[in-house]
Symmetry: C2
Subunit: 245 residues, 2 copies
DNA sequence: CGCCTGATTGAGCTGCTTCAACGGCTGTGG
DNA sequence: CCACAGCCGTTGAAGCAGCTCAATCAGGCG
C-alpha cells in the first residue's frame, strides 16, 4: 500500500504500447458511443481514436498529478480509481469494467485528480480529449453524449454519497453486489454469478468500512441464503431479498 | 420534512416569474463564465440567458423527476440539493452559494435526479441547456468551460465521498467549515466570519452524521478555541489548527 | 516446500447514535 | 403588547454498530 510520495504535480503521460484499432469495427461501440452514428460519423471517430493501451494488473493507467490529455474507455479488464489525501488516507471512488469510461476527472484542472489502477490485465481505448472536443463541435450527437456521460458520472457519485452517508454496512454491501450484478448484466455477462476482481480491502475502501466488516457481511448473507460467496466468486441467490436489506 | 410522495416522473418545469437580465452587465460573470470573452461572445450569451427566477426560502427550484431544460447559476442566496431514496432516506449532496451552478444532474437522463431547495430567498439565472449546447458548438472557450464545470463537479463529489468514507465526525465538520470559508473568500465575502444558512440537521445530512453530533463538534471546537459558534454565526478563530484536526 | 497475501472469525473497545430533557428564539394571534 | 406554540440548538446518559487487535487458514507462486 505504500507508494512513493507525490512530489511532481504535472508529469507527462508515460510512454505506452499502442496498437491500431477501429471504433467502426468495435463490438462495445454501442456502450461507449452514442447510438445512430452514420458511416460518416464513424469515419471521423476512427480518425481520432487510433490507439489502445494495455495495462497489467496492479499498474496505473494514470496517476494524480499527471497531465491530462485523454479520456479512456475500458475495452477489456477492470480498474479502480483512488483518491488520496495528503495525510495518506486513501479512498476508492469507483470500479470500472469493460465499456465504462475513465479519466473525466482530469478535464477540470488539466491534470488528473485520481489514480486509475488495473485490477487485472486490461486494455483501454485512448481518446484524445482535445480532438474529441473538436469532434463535438461538429457532431451534435457526440456532443450530447459526452455531456450525458459526465452528468451520469455526477449522478452515480451522488448515489454513492447517499450510500456512504446514510446506509448501514449491511445495506452498503448488498447495494454494491446488486449494482455490480446490474452492470455485468448490461454488458451481456451473467448477472447472478460473477467474479470479483477486487480484494475485500478495496471493497471496504470503496464502501467506507473495514475489510473485516465486508467479510462479515458476506458471511452473514451466506448464512441467510441471499448470496453464495466462495472467495472472489459470488453467486446471488436471492436478489429480491438482497434489495430489501 | 414530510412531502407528497413522488408519483409523476416527468413533469414540466413549473411556471415562474422571469425578468430580463444581461450577462454582459453582471458582476458575477467572472465566476459563472469563462474568462476572456469578446464583446461578440457576450452578445451571444445575452441572447440565450434572458431570464432569472426568484425562489423563496424553503421552495424548490426543481424536483427530482422534473423534465430537464435548463441549468442555473445562483445569482443571490443559497440552495441545498437533496437526493431521496425510495425508502424515504434523504441525503444532502451539496450546498450552492452565489456564483455556483445547479442542475447538471439533469443532463444525463433528461429529467432531474435531485431536489434543489432554497435555503433563503434566492435568485437564479436560467440557462436553457439546448441553447447552451448550440453556443458551445460555435464557441470553443464556452465549450471547454462547461466541460470543466462538469468535471469540477465530479472531482468535488469525489472529495466528498472520501470525506464520508474515511473521516471522523470531527474531521468532517472541520473540513466543512474550512471549505465554506474558502468559497466565501473566493466570492469576496469574509472568510473568517460568516452566517450559516442551513440548520444543524442539514449539515449532518450532508456530512453523514446526526444533528446532535454536529452540535457536539461545534461545541468541542469552541472549547478548543478553534471556532466561535453562536447559533448560525460562525467565526473561524484558528484555521490552521482546524485543518490539522 | 515455505513464504506471502488475502480471507475469515472471535473478543473487546469506542465513537457515534438514540433517547430524552431543556432553553432560546421567532412568529403569530388574541 | 404579551402569551404561547413550534422549531432549533445544546447537552447528558446509555446502547450498539462497526473498528481494532489477534489468531488461524487457504491459495498462489517462486
Amino acid at each position: 500500500m505504500t507508494r512513493a510520495p507525490k512530489v511532481v504535480l504535472i508529469r507527462p503521460v508515460q510512454p505506452a504500447p499502442v496498437r491500431a484499432t477501429r471504433c467502426s469495427a468495435c463490438s462495445t461501440r454501442t456502450i461507449c458511443m452514442p447510438p445512430g452514428l452514420t458511416v460518416d460519423d464513424l469515419a471521423k471517430l476512427d480518425s481520432i481514436i487510433c490507439s489502445t493501451r494495455s495495462v497489467k494488473r496492479g499498474e496505473t493507467l494514470y496517476r494524480s498529478g499527471y497531465a491530462f490529455q485523454s479520456i479512456y474507455a475500458v475495452r477489456a479488464g477492470s480498474f479502480k480509481t483512488v483518491v488520496m489525501h495528503r495525510d495518506g488516507r486513501e479512498h476508492v471512488t469507483g470500479f470500472q469494467i469493460a465499456g465504462e469510461s475513465l479519466g473525466l476527472d482530469g478535464v477540470c484542472a488539466g491534470h488528473h485528480n485520481w489514480d486509475a489502477i488495473a485490477l487485472e490485465d486490461s486494455v483501454v481505448c485512448i481518446i484524445p480529449f482535445a480532438q474529441l472536443e473538436a469532434l463535438c463541435r461538429e457532431m451534435k450527437s457526440m456532443q450530447h453524449h459526452i455531456y450525458q456521460m459526465m452528468s451520469g458520472e455526477i449522478v452515480r457519485e451522488s448515489s454513492q454519497m447517499m450510500l456512504l452517508g446514510t446506509m448501514t454496512a449491511e445495506q452498503r454491501v448488498a447495494t454494491f453486489l446488486l449494482n455490480l450484478s446490474l452492470r455485468f448484466k448490461a454488458r451481456g455477462f451473467l448477472d447472478a454469478e460473477f467474479h470479483l476482481r477486487m480484494t475485500r480491502e478495496e471493497i471496504g475502501c470503496y464502501l467506507g468500512m473495514k475489510l473485516e466488516t465486508v467479510s462479515r457481511m458476506f458471511s452473514k448473507f451466506q448464512r441467510e441464503w441471499l448470496v453464495h460467496a466462495n472467495g472472489k466468486t459470488i453467486r446471488i441467490v436471492d436478489a429480491e431479498a438482497l434489495a430489501r436489506v
